[in-house]
Amino acid sequence: MASTEIVHAHAAPQGFIRKYIFSLDHKIIGLQYYFLALIAVFLGMGLSLLMRIHLIWPTASLPIFGDIKPETYLMFVTMHGTIMVFFVLTTAPQGGFGNYFLPIQIGAPDMAFPTLNMLSFWTTFVAFVVLIAAFFVGAPLHGWTGYAPLSAVPSSGPGEGLGADLWITSIALFCAASLMGALNFITTTLDMRAKGMSMMRMPLTCWAWFITAILGLLAFGVLAAGGILLLMDRNLGTSFFVPGGLNFTGQTSFPPGGFSPSTDLVKHNGGSPLLWQHLFWFFGHPEVYIAIVPGMGVASQLLSTFSRKPIFGYRAMVYAMLAIGILGFVVWGHHMFMSGMSPYSAFAFSIMTMAIGVPSAIKTFNWIGTIYKGRVRFHTPMLFAIGFVSLFVSGGLSGPFLAQPVIDIPLHDTAYVPGHFHLIMGVAAIFGIFAATYYWFPKMFGHMMNETLGRWHFFITLVGTYSIFMPMHYLGMAGQPRRYSQLTEVAYLHPLIPLNRFITYAAIVTIAGQFIFLFNLFWSMAKGKKAADNPWEATTLEWTTATPPPHDNFGGRTPVVNHGPYEYSVPGAPRDYIMQNDPATAPVH
């Protein structure tokens, strides 16, 4: 068992493989997660570009994939969603930054179970490779949600054979990896905090990673259960999700005398596609919070630091995140209003969903309260943190509308819903990742990122993403369906084509803007201005140690915490910030 590993009782490893490949150091593992997510995000972004280009030039032949058939388009949809949700939004904020900074921020030398941590990353890596392998055998069509029976019957369409098996295997491996990670995060947070670091003195980033880990711990087991049932339906002939009477032979007309049960119909009977949806969304809704909650933590940390003010309502922020996490487990039904549901259940799910607006509003109020009358320093990380709040509000406001069945039913299968969830769970979470990157880059690599390039990147991304996803709300209300590969053949959609063109152009510009970030990232690693140990004059423990942090994080010292995480502009203090490990009584002159 990994538990017998002696935490840093040994010297730092010297060989390249033990140091950078199969490393037990949470910092290296964090970077491995981060760069895996970086590869994944560019892949997922490339797929979205192909989709956007196909939507406005449906006859154009695309590189690599040639002429786009409807099933190719659905393959893009599936792979874009799966890559982005699992390998970017779950991997970078939690596996990347959480791994790197949770132990340092609570004053621990490493994660509780370093071997398990390494295993968790490499399982994620294998899951990613297996998913990419699905491209080469024909990727599945069933979307990131994998709705049965499409996902449960190998003959249901191209890519649903081996491609879908690889997809499920990848998801199952990802579940295992995430559970190992969550176990480590929770044990580390509960058991390895430095002296004086009480739970209510933890930075809000640590609270966010802790709550995210709990969500993952409770949610991924359920997805694994669904995946096991799905694999059994596909390979052992069971009927958990597949109802009887389905015909997947591709016949377009009803044959005289009816279908023959022995040759034309699936061999399954009695399964319930809704059962899959319940299991999937019981995982799937907490999953969207797994993506966004770390961003909330980062935004809180940065807004306080760069406003030179304590976070407004620390305890309220903690309780709001906990409330969002708990409520996140009782709202999964709002994804299924279209799937057939008793109006009474729909009503209950609807009320619970709208209740999430309350803690979300508390958080937003507190973020604005934090900036209010602060001496705001508009560095790039701060810009992205403000952008996060902006996107969280504008993406979140459509939530209470979609939470109501009467509004959701006409809008559910339109472009409105992609507009909603891309703003809040996609772009807002990505802004959290960008903010964290610009903020912690000096600590991770010892150099500052370029501010000018950072600002260009910020404004292009902010304006670009709003230009992409805001119009989708209008497209949805005008009735443009989602998941359709071709919109140009339908008369009522013709007036919407200019707007679709605009979205595609905005997407091209936004994607081009991301190369500014990529350049800045790698250029700054080598050529960026040398970073001081605490360039942002922040208070949390990662800024008390060397840059980059030594193997055991604090160079043999064990930090002792005397202060809360956000003591800025304390009256009577010699400077405008008090670090968490400063002596308990700050000298008063």
Binding site: M1, S3, T4, I6, V7, H8, A9, G107, A108, P109, A112, F113, L179, A182, L183, N184, I186, T187, L190, D191, M192, R193, A194, K195, L217, L218, A219, F220, G221, V222, A224, A225, G226, I228, L229, M232, L236, G237, T238, S239, F240, P243, G244, G245, P261, L265, N269, G270, G271, S272, L275, H278, L279, F282, D552, T558
Partner: protein, 249 residues
């Protein structure tokens, strides 16, 4: 000098859990560097951390079986469209479980849980006395080491064999994996439990290997301790599954 410094840690035996109570020793105080004051690894802290990790790690296992249970109950109450008559019918087919065989398996597993507990207490005692016996010239006499761990492994394998026989018996009675929804669930639940129990057996074999590699008894004790709690959990889980399959047929 060496003998003197090792007598310093004679303090450790005081933390033994008199007769295997479940409260973990709480020395170490959360210093977090995994080492005691005198340079030896702080096993008490590591044990506490491992137990916490196990408690956290069992949560997704519970969630897995909660999911299967809810799927089981939902599917049981779900009507199915009969294609011949175009009407909804209830097609849940109660499985005729080989319950005598399963009862024997249950007894084997419960007994293995008892032997596992005895093994846990045995190694706890050994670990507590280890610092004393390491003092040159001090001997507690040859303690009789009953192979409780080995017996547990044998009983665990016996349980798995019994489950395999139960599957053969089910197949002989005409219940295969895909025969009906109910039989699918029987195979699913028993197989998932068996896989988890096999993980426990692997952990026990691992601790046997560490014993051969002459790892410190305190380190082996951590492996045995958390495997024991895991093992008890698996016994309880099996009783739950058996009850579910018998009661909610």
């Amino acid at each position: 000098m060496a003998t003197l410094s090792s007598t310093v840690s004679v303090k450790v035996p005081q933390t033994r859990q008199g007769g295997g109570g479940s409260t973990p020793p709480t020395f170490g105080g959360g210093g977090g560097d995994g080492r005691g004051g005198n340079g030896s690894p702080d096993y008490g802290e590591r044990l506490r951390r491992a137990r916490l990790g196990l408690a956290v790690g069992l949560t997704p296992v519970i969630m897995l079986f909660v999911s299967f249970t809810s799927a089981y109950i939902v599917r049981q109450g779900l009507p199915t469209l009969d294609l011949r008559t175009n009407t909804y019918v209830h097609d849940w087919l109660p499985v005729n479980l080989p319950w005598v065989l399963l009862l024997i398996n249950t007894v084997i597993l419960v007994v293995s849980s008892v032997t596992m507990e005895l093994a846990r207490r045995q190694i706890t005692r050994q670990a507590a006395l280890a610092p004393v016996t390491s003092i040159p010239g001090v001997s507690l006499g040859e303690e009789k080491k009953f192979p409780w761990l080995g017996i547990t492994v044998v009983l665990g394998l016996g349980f798995l064999t019994g489950q395999w026989m139960a599957w053969r018996e089910l197949a002989a009675r005409g219940f295969y994996v895909a025969t009906s929804a109910s039989s699918s669930f029987v195979y699913l639940l028993t197989a998932m439990h068996a896989i988890h129990l096999a993980g426990g057996i692997l952990a026990l074999l691992y601790s046997a290997v560490t014993s051969l590699l002459r790892k410190p008894v305190e380190a082996r004790r951590i492996v045995v301790d958390i495997t024991a709690w895991y093992w008890h959990f698996m016994a309880l889980l099996w009783i739950y599954i058996f009850a579910l399959l018998e009661i909610a047929r």
